[in-house]
Symmetry: C2
Subunit: 382 residues, 2 copies
């Protein structure tokens, strides 16, 4: 299946849902009432930017990105199977997974397509703006412990992950894989808790793979099947989707799959959460510019703020809460010198010196948008 | 006359010219064959960026911006009158002007509307892209010497300038003024030579006011009449046009004239002249990125180049030719690391630390566009 066919199938599914929607008069999704619905089925829900006001994103505010819709996963006899190139195939019950040493990791997850709506020319896919990102503390078993129990054979190069969601109509099953090194990394876990409670169904109950620092589609929900492989998995969501050109391409270009490689880590990025876009302010009053910055597997070195369209920059303070793989809060008090219309910008730089670009590279699926962020503020005389 | 009515009148004039144009099959303007014609009458001609390859812009490549069309100014009995608040009104013949001490100044002139085409939302007016700018060496008499000969009275605050071009249809006469301090500045001259030859008719023969560092519309062509005034001149081209909001306004906003002030100095800006936009290059080959940077009355401190969409910057070398009020050439050799599509950017900073913005302030007439410049280069494997 090509990306194009995938989007045609997705479009047909969306048209069907639109046709039956008035019968339900559905406006929000239960438990996620504050989120922006980008699609009802599959559930694609974006967090309004102004609701990000704590280091940890509460579960009810956390974005949702599904390809096939949440399956029913309330079964009490859940099994996690490990097969493929292993010496001892396993079928773990939930209690078995819980018996492994507990590991916790605080991770900023972000959809690779977050910001897709800003690419020019426009690209197909869910038109995420800024809120397909969030930070949670995940607790579970280390994937390496699970794999070691099954005994990975030496020819293993990739490990694949399949959740309980199944392909339907023309949309293929959502199966992803990891290179062995990332699979065996001690921070890669199979989580059963999200922010101290069992993972909610929309976030992968009962088990979810958590791949810190990498784009969200690696963190497979409702995890049922793991397989050790000697090559990349051959499915649509590895071979066609979530791939990125190996070189910068001309905006609007068609790119062969052979000229693309799988996405991996998230890129350096920042998000202004306050003031809200199109906010009003008064001269002489201090305004706190605050938000979050992240850089996937890397750490944020600094965040700069501009109020003059990017001519001059002021360094923001970074928040006390600070964990690897997690965003960092930033803040800077500013006073607007005079009444007028301001564009407030934030620009993050990571520890490797990579800075958010002015113009992110266009790519056919609209991944990894990370332009310098901006909000508009109308300042009136006090 | 409002700005709106001015543009309606201009539109009507343009429609008329368009209607009669096929009869002449005019494609270029004599002596300016290499320039882009934005309007035939009045003559509005833009220099293609790739033709800027020397510190001095040759006269035949120099941009032209007229409001009313070039008048016939070949008369041998030209007079320059000085009147208003002066103790001894004057009527200088050309020989009289030439008898004052010669003064020369090398100046980068730029139309305030250069780059207007890039504002979003779009604004009315000639849709200049990048080439309404150029640098010439002007020679003539100091305006202060001329004014002192006439004896400026103490109540003088402004000096107005009127050329031989006259208003027609609904378009008012083009009269501009200067505050006294800029008029009396020793670098403000009445030129009779442009790059060592008598000023060509399209550039103001026989006399042109040259106001260094300020937007081009101050440098009045075919200068006939100077008047000392105790207040700003009351005409359309002072009270309505060439004004800029005193505060940043919301894109698309309507702004009252009382909330605008006359434009004065040019802002910090750079222009990549090579490689040309949409150029091709090969990996492994050095490519010289070169162009010009200017900052009106201020000087360029540095120019940085980016080839990665503005994430990282490399400092360019500044050219040896270096005069106040003139642009500075910059250059940097780069090698493209791999095949692909690159956006090459240039970003100038002036001696006061002002840097080109990412997003220049929108304004109703589309003046002072000075965003970080960019060209696109398609790099193929060698």
């Amino acid at each position: 299946m090509t990306t194009r066919r995938y989007f045609i199938a997705l479009g047909a599914a969306a048209a069907f849902v639109k046709a039956v929607k008035p019968a339900f008069a559905q406006k929000t999704i239960a438990g996620k009432e504050k989120l922006i619905v980008r699609s009802f089925h599959p559930e694609d829900l974006e967090t309004p930017v102004e609701l990000f006001n704590s280091f940890i994103t509460p579960n009810d505010l956390f974005y949702v990105r599904h390809h096939l819709g949440a399956p029913g996963t309330e079964s009490t006899n859940w099994k996690l199977d490990v097969s493929g190139l292993v010496s001892s195939p396993q079928s773990f019950a939930l209690e078995d997974v819980r018996r492994f040493p507990r590991a916790s990791v605080t991770v900023t997850l972000e959809c690779a397509g977050n910001g897709r709506a800003f690419f020019d020319p426009a690209v197909a896919g869910i038109q995420w703006e800024k809120g397909a990102v969030g930070t949670a503390r995940w607790t579970g078993a280390r994937l390496a412990d699970i794999l070691n129990k099954a005994g990975i054979k030496s020819e293993t190069k990739y490990v694949s992950f399949d959740g309980a969601d199944k392909g339907f109509a023309k949309i293929p099953d959502f199966i992803r894989n990891l290179p062995l090194s990332k699979a065996m990394h001690p921070d890669t876990i199979i989580a059963y808790e999200m922010n101290g409670v069992p993972i909610p169904p929309l976030h992968g109950f009962p088990l979810r793979l958590i791949v810190p620092g990498w784009e969200g589609a690696y963190s497979v929900k409702w995890l049922e099947k793991i397989a050790a492989l000697d090559a990349e998995h051959d499915g649509f969501f590895v071979k066609t989707a979530y791939r990125y050109p190996t070189r910068r391409v001309m905006p609007g270009a068609t790119v062969d799959a052979k000229d693309m490689a799988p996405l991996t880590g998230l890129v350096v990025k920042s998000l202004i959460t306050s003031p809200k876009d199109k906010a009003s302010a008064r001269t002489g009053t201090s305004v706190l510019v605050t938000g979050f910055a992240w850089a996937g597997e890397d750490e944020i070195a600094k965040v700069d703020i501009s109020v003059d369209g990017g001519s001059t920059w002021m360094e923001a303070a970074l928040g006390r809460e600070h964990e690897r793989y997690s965003w960092r809060q930033f803040s800077r008090e500013i006073k607007f010198p005079a009444a007028g219309y301001y564009t407030v910008m934030s620009r993050a730089t990571d520890q490797k010196g990579r800075m958010q670009p002015i113009e992110p590279a266009w790519n056919p699926s609209g991944y990894l948008w990370n332009a310098i962020d901006k909000v508009r503020v109308n300042v009136e005389a006090a």
